[in-house]
Symmetry: C2
Subunit: 307 residues, 2 copies
């Protein structure tokens, strides 16, 4: 029986130091810890890695500090569009949703879509699918927070499109990777996208092979950062291929793929778990909100702070 392992991230970027120190830091750490405990509880009860990453990410979606679900970044038209994807390592089955506007927990919609003939669905049909599956639906109002409205008004004036974590009052994409008792891996990622992005934008989060990857034989990956650059190089598949085809160590593979993201104009980070249960959390932005837990051990959280 394998030791259970879970890692989560809450976004990567270049927030000003004052935004991730003191009380703010405690709130972030509490959010990450809660997600870790939710996922770990599932794994301890013998649940699957797939369910653990789903519910760990759902906990981060429900927490308005993070840019996913409630508290998501706003598009240029002031609306919220949510995306998520999930992949199961045992059979590489996938589910992904883009542009959800009514589904409370996008990751549960991606989870419900897993195994469908189609792998990825966008827009109204995606919400309709989630609703037909009995998932909780909400108004756009549910997702709004005062911080997000302030942030949107500010960036709309300057017409800039920024990574949530580079914005003054914002906090990024979320994700989780896990190994369950049976040794199965899974990965899940969820986001509200970029601040002031065009409605209709598809970043890396919902794209299998870009923001999310899981293969029991190789690794599970969830990415965060400037999603367009991650999508452009098919980041998560690249990490897995560097490990599988080039024999690169997982941490080095992730770091090299992050360098390749940089070559096309992006920065960010990822969380990676390998079949032996080792966890890696590299990033080349100033910080990445992250945490991990192993067996019955205490959850560990970290938020790098670089001036």
């Amino acid at each position: 029986m394998s030791e259970i392992v879970l890692a989560v991230h809450g976004g990567a970027g270049h927030l000003p130091k004052r935004k991730i120190t003191g009380k703010a830091r405690l709130h972030y750490e509490a959010g990450l810890t809660e997600a870790l405990e939710v996922g770990r509880g599932i794994l301890q009860r013998g649940g699957s890695a797939l369910n653990a990453v789903t519910e760990a990410v759902a906990a981060l979606e429900d927490n308005e500090l993070f840019n996913a679900g409630k508290g998501a970044a706003l598009c240029s038209d002031g609306s919220v569009e949510l995306s998520a994807s999930i992949m199961r390592g045992s059979d590489r089955s996938v589910g992904a949703m883009v542009g959800l506007r009514r589904t409370k927990n996008p990751i549960r919609a991606a989870r419900a879509f897993r195994g469908h003939l189609h792998g990825l669905l966008f827009g109204q049909e995606a919400d309709a699918y989630a609703e037909a599956k009995g998932l909780e639906m909400v108004d756009q109002d549910y997702f709004y927070t005062n911080n997000r409205l302030r942030q949107w008004r500010k960036y709309r004036e300057t017409k800039s499109v920024v990574l949530d974590h580079d914005a003054e009052s914002a906090h990024g994409t979320v994700g989780a990777v896990a190994r369950d008792r049976r040794g199965n891996l899974a990965a899940a990622t969820s986001t509200g996208g970029l601040v002031n992005q065009l409605p209709g934008r598809v970043g890396d989060t919902p794209v299998i092979g870009a923001g999310t990857w899981a293969d029991n034989q190789v690794c599970a990956v969830s990415a965060t950062g400037k999603g367009d650059a991650f999508a452009r190089i098919a980041f998560a598949r690249r990490v897995a291929d560097l490990i599988e085809l080039a024999g690169t160590a997982p941490n080095e593979a992730a770091s090299r793929a992050l360098e390749e993201v940089k070559e096309v104009g992006g920065t960010g980070g990822c969380i990676v778990i390998d079949p032996s249960g080792q966890v890696f959390l590299p990033f080349n932005s100033a910080h990445m909100l992250r945490g991990w837990v192993r067996g019955k051990g205490a959850p560990v959280t970290a938020i790098e702070v670089v001036d």
Copy 2:
């Protein structure tokens, strides 16, 4: 100065023999040849690989025999949704569009979006972007053909969702790869999706790393077949990684990646060009409509027929 090379495909699948023999075969071959001549003309005049693959694919979109642009397969609600992507090998810049309903030539929309901060756009915003760029807009009626309406009515009754090329009267996704005089590579892919698919479905065609890939140092790839399976394994990136990281010969890399598509339930094919200008056109379905041209040579077309 490099010799110019262009390859195109018009879909892969399992059409009944009578659909791709005799007069039908001649029509397909004429369509492929026309696309090759359009693209080759651009390359001969010193145009870029990017422009050549765009216009070769646009010629296939305008030909109602192929499942892209005019003559595209219909969604379950009877509407047409079009997707396309493009990638330039010199800088790995990308452009992609999903769920276009009014843009006459989806590949030109993807081309116009290349270099945008966002890499992929879906739905109404995608059409709006194309319109703002001055591209030709049409009504849904433009895309319909009698064959498609008959096909849709038939498959709607049986509630089956099928690859266009597996359907009685239909003919698949299109794509092109090229090398220009300067040795630059590019790839482009365009599709109407699966017959009777859910509106909102995103297959492999618009996903960089799934249906399309181009990197001057490695290869350019355009895929066709059961797109959900291609997307699930990030097919095109996989072909490139097998070449770059494992040192696999391009033809073998493509064949191995197609085997991996089969493992997750799909079949199809792809066209690949490497930096030396060699072209490979492997497939593991019964046939793939395909063609290539080199320098001033005569265009070659082929349509495998397996009973």
